[in-house]
């Protein structure tokens, strides 16, 4: 415990000085602080903010590791150097060293930049405002690299992280006070600021953008392009299906498809979600109701197409006609529902509110996905929108409860 004592001494030395929050932060970050609640009849739980955050990070680790392998796998697959997976989840084509090397090379810098820049902003604000650094960025910093395309330039990520942490969180007063999910604020900023790096058929596969540039400069190379799954589905292509499709349903479920770094594997997201529910960190109400919302909206659209209210030439037909449950295994909706919508700060706080909040996230995600081809993945917009409405939902739930009790009181007294 040498380091802990040393940090504690440093802390005492700098107490009351300008840099004190920074030292305190390092101390709390690495160890449990020496000071805890002293007086009063408090219940001292072991699940402090740090443990909550670490639980979420643990549930994200499988997605991160899978994302690294997938980065390499999609790269080599697009180059035609390896065969597609043939042997289920544990195919040797996927879990190879070559894939991992590409993944480490591309994904680790994203993680480092996300944490480095984000924590730096938090430290600066802690020093300026003279308060403690909160652990709030720990989860955000892990989420951010998982929801961006693998080739996102690092400086763009850095700019977006600064924007997201400052405008999304610090202006509202820091961790616990933010209205919008900071990770999604960062994603939204990237999407609107640098759309060419965030959508299209090149960005999802490492090396494809670079290759396109070389070809444009006259190099004689084969073009690399990853299919954009949602884009292709919108055009009515048979991309995810059982027969003759580019990707089988198993591929999409297990995650052997191009996409943002960590959101492709529905299986691992499902496991992470179960872990969060089991440890009572994530709200099962939000997850379940969001899945229901997704399925119901999907069913409505399926109904519209099978009733023949829309012609096949319509640009909405492709995605409307997608079997309703397939919406959950393509795109980022599963990841959004499990790890973003359940953010305890920005979600609804009341149980009834959580049902409404979650349901509308699923519902609106599919609505945006189908009707707005400019935003192929609507889930981040849907969650941000519902983040804004969460306090309103809570307000009406609470008011409704008060009204009900008032009525009961009147009945009793009357």
């Amino acid at each position: 415990m040498g380091l802990k004592d040393k940090l504690h001494k440093l802390k005492l030395k700098y107490q009351g000085k300008k840099m004190a929050p920074a030292f305190n932060a390092i101390h709390t970050f690495l160890y449990l602080p020496n000071e805890t609640t002293h007086s009063g009849g408090h219940i001292r739980g072991a699940d402090d903010l740090k443990r909550t955050m670490n639980t979420v990070i643990m549930s994200l680790i499988p997605c991160l590791i899978f994302g690294m392998f997938n980065a390499g796998y999609q790269h080599y697959l697009a180059l035609g150097e390896i065969e597609a997976v043939s042997n289920g989840f544990f195919s040797s084509e996927f879990w190879s060293w070559d894939n991992l090397v590409i993944g480490l090379w591309q994904v680790l810098p994203l993680v480092v930049v996300s944490y480095g820049v984000g924590l730096a902003v938090e430290f600066v604000f802690a020093v300026i405002k003279g308060h403690e650094v909160e652990e709030g960025y720990l989860v955000t910093g892990m989420l951010v690299p998982l929801i961006v395309p693998v080739d996102t330039p690092l400086w763009m990520l850095a700019v977006a992280v600064i924007f997201g942490v400052v405008i999304g969180k610090e202006v509202f007063g820091g961790t616990g006070m933010n209205i919008l999910n900071p990770a999604l604020t960062i994603r939204a900023f990237l999407f609107f600021a640098y759309p060419t790096w965030m959508s299209g058929d090149k960005v999802w596969v490492h090396g494809a953008v670079e290759r396109a540039g070389e070809i444009a400069n006259g190099a004689k190379l084969d073009a690399m392009s990853g299919e954009t799954i949602l884009g292709g589905l919108a055009q009515g292509k048979n991309i995810v299906g059982s027969q003759d499709a580019t990707y089988s349903i198993a591929d999409a479920f297990l995650g052997f498809i191009p996409g943002s770094v960590g959101e492709t594997s529905a299986l691992l997201i499902l496991l992470g979600g179960l872990f969060l529910v089991f440890t009572k960190i994530g709200s099962w109400r939000i997850m379940l109701s969001a899945v229901l919302g997704t399925l119901i909206m999907g069913l409505i659209f399926n109904g519209v197409t099978s009733a023949g209210w829309i012609t096949e030439s319509s640009k909405f037909y492709g995605l409307m006609n997608l079997e309703f449950w397939k919406h959950l295994i393509v795109g980022g909706i599963a990841f959004g529902i499990v790890f973003m919508a359940t953010d305890p700060v920005t979600a609804s706080q009341t149980n009834k509110g959580k049902w409404i909040y979650g349901f509308l996230i699923g519902f609106i995600s599919i609505l945006i996905r189908v009707f707005n081809p400019a935003y192929p993945e609507g889930v981040f917009l849907a969650i941000l929108l519902m983040n804004v409405f969460a306090p309103t939902i809570d307000h009406y739930v609470v008011q409704g409860n008060i009204k009900k009790r008032m009525k009961r009181l009147k009945l009793k007294t009357a």
Binding site: W155, M156, I167, F192, Y194
Partner: protein
Amino acid sequence: MAEVTTEEKVKVKEPKEPLFSKKNRKLLSDPLADNNPITIQVLGICSALAITAQLKPSIVMAISVIFVLGIGNVVISLMRNIIPSKIRIIVQLVVVAALVIVVDQVLKAFAYTLSKELSVFIGLIITNCIIMGRFEAFALGNGPWKSFLDGIGNAAGYGVLLIIVAFFRELLGSGTLFGIKVLGDPIEKTGLYALGYENNGFMVLAPMALITVGVIIWIQRSKNKALIEDH
């Protein structure tokens, strides 16, 4: 948002006051900083969001508003004793509308492309809250010279903010200033673009104007704590 202070409404009846007395200079300089119509009174936001993607239209807009508010304030101030108070809003509208039409026609005659770019927003100066606000709060209760200074000051405060916002939006959003490519050519990949820099498309969209104004308000209030309201 309380731009109407009682001091302003009191009629000043000092017989001999120099043209640029301390008080009068304050009328001119206050709106530029601590009583800025946009950042403090939060008026005229709509046009500030709409036309600040480029510097040139912002400057034209600023000049137009300075012209309309300066002259409008004088006209209203001169008529202040003969306007029946029940129909004063209509009279004010007529005055603004007349001035705005003049501006519009001048722009159409001498700067047609700019007038196209600004489209309805020149016409919408009529509804700019700052103008009606100054008529109501100041010109109706003060003499023409004071009203003139007040009008110019407030319009300039509005204009300065437009230009600051437009500077950042044009520089970061399009990489240009007044249409000149100061950061290099994004297609030829010269200057900063050779290093992999790219324009921030978000800056061109209206939400970013709101956020930029918000950041300016933030900076202003953290510099001058007196501006922070009590709760």
